[in-house]
């Protein structure tokens, strides 16, 4: 369903072809990170810290090296010492500890052996002596006066040089006079919230194979961006980028968690030492203990409003717990406060280190925490004012020119359109089903541009290869092909979209920030536009006319002076490529760019749910996600992003959490007890795509990957409040927590 029809009548953009890589993925032929095996390949296994924080006194690898099948053992000593100010210093230390283990599960050594079982046995035989150090495990512990340092290498960013600190950022954003506005407000609501660490939960564990030879590491792995894998791996190994080649495998989910590396330099060093290819695949337990979850957070939000529903001021305190390495989560969380006009705003934010795994990006990183708190408080304001929650938001919704928390004016955005679409929807217009109650909330994400490259090669029969460096995480090959088909005017199935390795296409940033369809798509369109100019010139040669007299219409060159037809006989793309040899050789074009003008995306979600007041269970009976896609290139995959983001948010809202014991070890490191939603937990997820085109993209794309995870937690919390009168303030809203609050009612 499309609420706002795009006024432009495209032939391909907005259609739903079968994805080009689909066949291989339904017959089991697609090769993901763990699916390559090389002759003579060894298997790697890690030794991981059993302590949340410890000095590594010694590592004795002799027993492991003597075990059957063992070909190589590496520790931190095998890697060059990077300068602590190097941008990938933390990544290097996270891949393999150097003298100090910063969390339970931190890699301290690795072995390579002939079989998986031998590698596992040898890893268990590596003897590590630890001196246990004091650990900080919570945000409060981290920020307490006199707290031990989680990581002595951390210094507060944006601050004058000083002593090491547990705080990675201390930042304040403000505008107006918050204190006066609060004093003048008719209604003031203030509440505190907290969120546990959660994991992206991609189904494919991290995996790679590295074949080292002739001074070069040849890496096969799944990631959200193989050029970043290349530079990070090269930096950790202390070699030039030219000494690392990364071939992208299909990626089995990332959601931000595969924008960094864990395995590749370790496998490379094991391969270098053993002289054989080395494959490493994480177990699920290792993924949960040793990769990067999203931050935890503690937040306090105060909002003031006039009695007629103007939100006049917001006063926020936010602290994000990011694990053992520097991050900017607190600042980004504050910057994501962008949905309402708020003439007066003050955000005091902290990014706190804890001795837990190094946070990684997770879909709209930092925004879900902030939105959970703010949208809950906005809901309380609506209740106090007796206003419909959509009407209150419509009255205050940010439009073009309104300021984000950072102080920058919004470009053209579609929040009002999204709110109106939900208000008009069948869902919102219908009463909740018997026994269920309703909640809604808003989410925002910036989206980003950054660097992309695309090469488009026209084949002699008029088909085309579209080569990019953006891994296909959820249908992007089809989107690239659609934009190329639209631009060139040829059939989408005559295009072969290719994700090329780091030596076969121009540099392309990692797929994050919902940027692939926007930025890489823009490069594809620019390359196609370049080709059209070339095609027109070739056509002019064939037609014997001046190139200025040739136009490109529906995949063909036309010149009024050519042929007998009215307006000229068209010369199709295939007719031109057939004569390429006679007119100057192959037709190819490359475009590379650093895309500015990413279009922010808003989402509005609505849930109807039931609460079992005797057990605290929440059952979601109806769910609708509305989102501004700019333009939906392939609507099925836009809906898929909205639905997937919604359900990840539902999992975050209901049951997902890292449960640590007193020693900082994760107690629920399995898919049995880290409870991501299963099919029977959910209703169908209704979608409404709103299309407010982004003027900075040739087809209006905003990017849709991330915003969908921002609204669900508050949407559900608001519905629970409507159902029970209880305002949940702690994530997840698991049955024990809900029942406890119901008991206290």
């Amino acid at each position: 369903m499309t609420a706002t029809e795009n006024p432009t009548n495209y032939k391909w953009v907005g259609t739903r072809p079968i994805r080009h890589d689909g066949f291989d993925k339904v017959v089991g032929k697609a090769r993901f990170g763990a699916d390559l095996n090389l002759p003579g390949q060894l298997h790697g296994a890690f030794v991981r810290s059993p302590h949340a924080h410890a000095r590594i006194v010694s590592i004795d690898t002799s027993a492991a090296e003597a075990m059957p099948g063992v070909k190589a053992v590496v520790t931190g000593d095998d890697f060059p010492a990077l300068d602590p100010t190097h941008p990938n210093y933390d990544t290097a230390v996270n891949c393999m500890a150097r003298g100090e283990a910063f969390y339970h599960g931190h890699a301290v050594a690795a072995v390579a052996a002939t079989t998986k079982a031998e590698a596992k046995a040898a890893a268990a035989a590596v003897e590590v002596e630890y001196e246990v150090l004091p650990a900080v495990l919570s945000i409060a512990d981290s920020m307490a006066d006199g707290a031990p340092l989680a990581n002595p290498n951390n210094h507060t960013k944006f601050a004058p040089p000083g002593d090491p600190s547990n705080l990675a950022t201390i930042t304040n954003l403000d505008r107006g006079d918050v204190d006066q506005a609060m004093a003048d407000a008719d209604v003031v609501v203030e509440m505190g919230f907290d969120c546990a660490h959660v994991h992206q939960g991609y189904i494919e564990p991290h995996a790679c194979v590295v074949d080292y030879g002739d001074g070069k590491a040849n890496v096969w792995c799944s990631s959200q961006g193989h050029f970043r894998v290349r530079s990070m791996t090269a930096d950790v190994l202390g070699v030039d980028n030219s000494k690392v080649k990364v071939v992208p495998a299909e990626i089995g989910g990332g959601f931000g968690g595969k924008t960094t590396i864990y395995l590749e330099p370790i496998a490379a060093k094991l391969s270098e030492k053993s002289g054989k290819p080395v494959k490493i695949t994480m177990t699920r337990e290792e993924v949960l203990r040793g990769s990067g979850p999203a931050p935890s957070a503690e937040l306090r939000i105060k909002i003031g409003a006039t009695k007629d529903g103007e939100l006049t001021a917001i006063d926020g305190w936010m602290a994000y717990g990011v694990g053992a390495f520097s991050d900017m989560a607190g600042l980004i969380g504050a910057m994501s406060v962008a949905s309402y006009k708020f003439p007066n705003l003050r955000m005091e934010t902290y990014t706190a280190l804890t001795n837990t795994p190094k946070s990684a990006a997770y879909r709209a990183p930092s925004a879900p925490h902030a939105a959970w708190a703010i949208e809950s408080v906005v809901d309380e304001v609506a209740t106090e004012l007796g206003m419909d929650p959509i009407d209150l938001r419509l009255k205050n919704a940010a439009v073009e020119g309104d300021l984000t928390a950072m102080g920058m004016p919004h470009p053209r955005v579609g929040l009002v359109e999204c709110l109106e679409a939900l208000k008009a929807s069948d869902h919102y217009q219908s009463e909740p089903a018997e026994g269920s109650s309703r909640g809604m909330a808003v989410g925002f994400w910036f989206n980003i541009g950054e660097e992309s490259s695309a090469t488009v090669n026209l084949n002699e029969d008029g088909t085309a290869n579209v080569i990019t460096g953006s891994p296909d995480i959820g249908g992007s090959r089809a989107s690239m092909a659609l934009m190329a088909a639209e631009t060139l005017g040829i059939d989408v199935y005559s295009i072969t979209p290719i994700v090329a390795d780091t030596e076969s296409v121009g540099f392309t940033d990692v797929t994050e920030g919902s940027r692939a369809t926007f930025a890489t798509g823009k490069a594809v369109v620019e390359a196609c536009e370049d080709l059209i100019e070339q095609l027109k010139a070739r056509a002019a040669t064939i037609m014997g006319v001046d190139v200025g007299e040739v136009a490109w219409v529906d995949g063909a060159a036309v010149s009024p002076g050519h042929g007998g037809g009215e307006g000229g006989d068209p010369l199709t793309l295939a007719q031109i490529t057939a004569q390429a040899k006679r007119t100057g050789g192959p037709l190819t074009a490359t475009a590379s760019l650093n895309a500015a003008g990413a279009g922010p995306s808003f989402a509005v979600h609505c849930a109807d749910l039931k609460v079992d007041e005797e057990t605290g269970e929440i059952e979601i009976v109806r769910y609708t996600a509305v989102q501004d896609a700019g333009t939906a290139i392939h609507p099925s995959y836009v809906e898929g992003q909205m639905q997937g983001g919604s359900v990840q948010g539902i999992g975050w809202a209901l049951n997902e959490e890292y449960i640590y014991n007193a020693d900082g070890a994760m107690e629920n490191a399995s898919f049995l007890d880290y409870r991501i939603p299963v099919a029977s937990d959910l209703p169908l997820i209704e979608t409404i795509i709103v299309e407010v085109p982004n003027p900075a993209h040739p087809y209006g794309v905003r990017g849709v990957g991330e915003t969908g995870i921002v609204p669900p937690m508050a949407t559900i919390g608001n519905a629970v409040k409507a159902a029970t009168g209880v305002r949940m303030t702690s994530l997840p809203m698991s049955p024990p927590k809900v029942l406890k609050r119901l008991n206290e009612r």
Partner: protein, 285 residues
């Protein structure tokens, strides 16, 4: 580790007796994950699924005989068994996904020794017996006497359960099993409650109430049974059942639930299961 698949009970007994550190298995849905994480390192894995007697379900002489290695799906898809013992069938049917259902067995679910085993409370409420084989021959004991603590059973190292015997219920009897899990599937019970009632008109003439996941083993709740017998399941009775069930709890705080939560919800589930069991008893399950 070596794998062996005997085809007779005697052969299996010999293998266990001759191989210290050996383990029998059926579905291995718990054992294999324990092996993968290194928590379990058996010398020999004795696969019981090639022994016909352990893989059969039969009904004769007023009782069901269920092979201990029979997959749960064979029970839940057995219409006659499910009609007669719906509470046991639905307990077995809650052990994991469809994938797990095709592997997990009553024998494994019991001998794994988890207090949260979904099929166990219903079997105890029904007075089921376990037939145990060992080097010294066979013996039969109540299912309630098999598990002695978390991960612990009363079986000797060379013994294993061959089959379960479940007598046909008296007339006008119904049972039910309910559990609380955070999701709708794929979780381990946070609380489980089985209730079996025999009705004389509107009055309960016999009752069995057994809770799972709230104590080191599944526990029978005599106080709840006493409250039920002679009652017509009025609100006061159900409140008394809930209170007795909560009082019988001796749970732990862990990643799956709190003491407070388990204690409260045990009462809720016992009361709800009683209502379902009564309805089944009266409607002639």
């Amino acid at each position: 580790m070596h794998y062996v698949a005997p085809t007779t009970v005697g052969e299996a007994c010999s293998l266990l007796a001759d191989n210290p550190g050996s383990r029998v298995f059926a579905g291995a849905t718990d054992l294999v994950p324990q092996m993968r994480t290194g928590r379990l390192e058996p010398s020999v894995m004795v696969d019981l699924k090639r022994i016909d007697r352990l893989m059969s379900v039969s009904h004769a002489d007023g009782r069901w005989t269920i092979g201990a290695a029979t997959p749960a799906s064979d029970l839940t898809h057995n219409a006659a068994f499910t009609a007669m013992h719906p509470g046991i069938s639905e307990g077995a049917g809650l052990i994991g996904s469809d994938q797990i259902q095709n592997r997990s067995s009553l024998g494994g679910n019991l001998c794994n020794g988890s207090p949260a085993a979904d099929s166990v409370p219903g079997m105890i409420a029904a007075g089921a017996r376990a037939v145990i084989a060992g080097a010294g021959g066979e013996r039969t004991i109540p299912v309630a006497d098999v598990v002695t603590g978390p991960g612990q059973t009363s079986l000797a190292a060379d013994e294993f359960i061959v089959e379960f015997e479940i007598d046909d219920p008296p007339a006008n009897t119904g049972d039910a099993y309910l559990r609380m899990i955070p999701r709708t599937e794929m979780d381990i019970a946070v609380v489980g409650a089985a209730v079996r009632l025999t009705m004389d008109g509107d009055t309960v003439s016999a009752a069995g109430v057994v809770l799972g996941a709230v104590a080191p083993t599944a526990v029978r709740v005599p106080e709840a049974e006493a409250a039920l017998v002679g009652s017509s399941l009025d609100a006061d009775t159900l409140a008394a059942v809930a209170a007795a069930a909560s009082a019988a709890c001796n749970p732990i705080d862990d990643k799956r639930g709190t003491i407070e939560y388990r204690t409260q919800v045990a009462g809720v589930l016992a009361k709800r299961a009683a209502a379902i069991a009564a309805e089944r008893a009266q409607n002639g399950a």
